[in-house]
């Protein structure tokens, strides 16, 4: 309990990064977004899991 078990923690971080990467990949391919693309890049990189969900649900016009 005293020392943090990194082997259990890093997958969580990796998955959050993966989510943002999927978002960025989709953003590169999509034709039209609601709001400017650079804003969504910002949200995906710094917005954590909520930012990524927001992008996937509201960000794209042509799903």
């Amino acid at each position: 309990m005293d020392e943090i078990n990194w082997s259990l923690l890093w997958p969580l971080l990796a998955l959050q990064v993966l989510l943002a990467v999927i978002g960025l990949f989709s953003l590169r391919r999509t034709e039209a977004t609601r709001g400017p693309k650079w804003l969504w890049v910002f949200i995906l990189i710094f917005g954590n899991i909520i930012g990524s969900i927001a992008y996937f649900v509201f960000g794209r016009k042509d799903i």
Binding site: T30, E31, A32, I63
Partner: protein, 305 residues
């Protein structure tokens, strides 16, 4: 031999507004029919009812004499005014999907899709996502999906009105080819488009059929002797022009400023009287034409009233 489609007493109302009011017509196999009329005449509503997308308020549509209400959608190809596709599909995927939904087997669907995409000039763009297509490309893709399963009746809603002149020409050329293979009914608000490729015209205005028949029959029916003239802007000349309207040989006259159009009963008499008077009074004539009215005049008259 029954006609391909029979439309009887067809009406559609939205609340109190009658969009289509008790129309009747037959579509003969192999013909090309133009549903002509101004915006709001009920053309789209009529086509949508024929495509089974809207339920008529009353009346019936029957395909090849089958009982009204039986499913004839497999025989139809339909292109709406502004077709929308799944942007995430490629053009080829969409046409294959459409062909399969209309009952083609997978292998046939792929083969027919490739053929029809080449025909509409989308061969090179077939594997690209539809989201990146231009308006003209989407219209051609729309034509491809309507044609892919070789429908026996093609319903096209304003197929060229949203296109630029070049795109319009391309689509008209395609339609000219297609009309050799299948029966077409298409709506338009441009008489010229109808005259260019159609045999029959149904003139629709405010939900009612104002006139219908073959192009030739309508032309000769509405060939009324007409005199068109224009004078210089001069008080005496304009007054004289107005006085012509009340002569006995004029059945109907329209004078607007220095221009006038007269329907006349006897073109010889009218020509003689007018030319002689103009010479005697020294009327400065700019334009004088003795001819016959065109479908354009009919169209304008129906739409204007």
């Amino acid at each position: 031999m029954p006609s391909l489609m029979q439309v009887r007493n067809l009406s559609k109302s939205y609340g109190k507004h009658l969009s289509v009011n008790n129309i009747n017509f037959d579509i003969e196999k192999g013909h090309c029919i133009a549903l002509l009329g101004p915006n709001g005449a009920g053309k789209t509503t009529t086509l949508r009812m024929m495509a089974g997308l809207l339920l008529p308020t009353s009346g019936s549509i029957s395909f090849e004499g089958a009982i009204p209400g039986s499913d004839y959608r497999q025989q139809l190809g339909y292109l709406p005014q502004s077709p929308s596709f799944y942007g995430w599909m490629s053009g080829e995927e969409y046409v294959v999907f459409a062909a399969k939904l209309s009952g083609l087997g997978s292998r046939d669907a792929v083969k027919m899709a490739a053929e029809v995409l080449e025909r509409v000039g989308l061969k090179d763009a077939a594997r690209r996502r539809i989201a990146g297509y231009s308006g003209g490309m989407k219209q051609r893709l729309g034509l491809a999906q309507a044609l892919v399963h070789r429908p026996r009746l093609l319903l096209l809603d304003e197929p060229v009105s949203a296109l630029d002149p070049i795109g319009r020409r391309e689509v008209m050329e395609m339609l000219r080819e297609i009309r050799e293979e299948t029966t077409i009914i298409f709506s338009t608000h441009v008489l010229h488009d109808a005259e260019e490729i159609c045999d029959d015209i149904i003139l629709l205005n405010q939900g009612v059929i104002a006139e219908q028949g073959t192009l030739g029959a309508l032309r000769s029916k509405y060939r009324i002797p007409v005199i068109r003239m224009r004078v210089e802007k001069q008080e005496q000349a304009v007054q004289w022009l107005q006085s012509i309207a009340s002569r006995t040989f004029v059945t109907e006259g329209q004078v607007s400023g220095e221009d006038a159009v007269f329907n006349v009963s006897d073109i010889k008499e009218a020509r003689q009287v007018i030319v002689q008077e103009a010479a005697a009074l020294g009327i400065p004539l700019l334009h004088f034409e003795a001819g016959s009215s065109t479908l354009e005049d009919l169209f304008m008259k129906v739409v204007g009233s």
